[in-house]
């Protein structure tokens, strides 16, 4: 039973963690009309 739960947890971590590490790192804009 425990092995089954651990395997399920490992599967969930492998699915969720790449998305959790995803992020926008930097945004740059060119603008007109700035004073």
């Amino acid at each position: 039973m425990n092995t089954k739960k651990l395997a399920l947890l490992a599967l969930l971590v492998s699915i969720v963690s790449p998305v959790a590490q995803a992020q926008i790192k930097h945004i740059e804009m060119r603008v007109e009309g700035m004073t």
């Binding site: 998305v19 995803a22 926008i24 945004i27 007109e32 700035m34």
Partner: protein
């Protein structure tokens, strides 16, 4: 404008260069930043954005219409504008691979055509910096 953008959710710092007409935004790590909201806030502050580029780390997925998209948060992804670089990413779609890419999210239409900052932002990949 600096204060206006700095108040948007997920924004850590805003650097404005009057000389170059360049605005650099560093997001917080909370993933709350919304480029479309930033673009709208820029227009709301009376300034016209001509271009918006983004560097992001994410996963290539296929959206509901079958188009490739870069997922940067569980609830945020940007559909890719097809180009040579995006074609090369089809083999990693829905794979557990993380990519760091630099791309163009918005460009003001040439000529007198009116810009629509509320249109959905699509990502034109300019450079794939890292595949993990």
């Amino acid at each position: 404008m600096k204060q206006h953008l700095g108040r948007q959710s997920g924004v850590q710092t805003v650097e404005v260069s009057l000389l170059d007409g360049k605005v650099e935004v560093t997001p917080k790590e909370d993933g709350q930043i919304d480029p479309a909201q930033l673009l709208k806030a820029t227009y709301d502050s009376g300034v016209t954005a001509t271009e918006m580029n983004m560097t992001a780390r994410g996963k290539i997925v296929k959206d509901s219409s079958g188009s490739l998209a870069l997922q940067v948060a569980p609830n945020r992804s940007f559909t890719l504008t097809p180009n040579e670089l995006s074609k090369g990413l089809e083999d990693v779609a829905d794979a557990p691979k993380m990519l760091t890419v630099r791309g163009e999210l918005y460009k003001k239409p040439a000529g007198k055509q009116k810009a629509d900052p509320s249109a959905p932002l699509k990502l034109l990949i300019l450079e794939v910096q890292k595949k993990e």
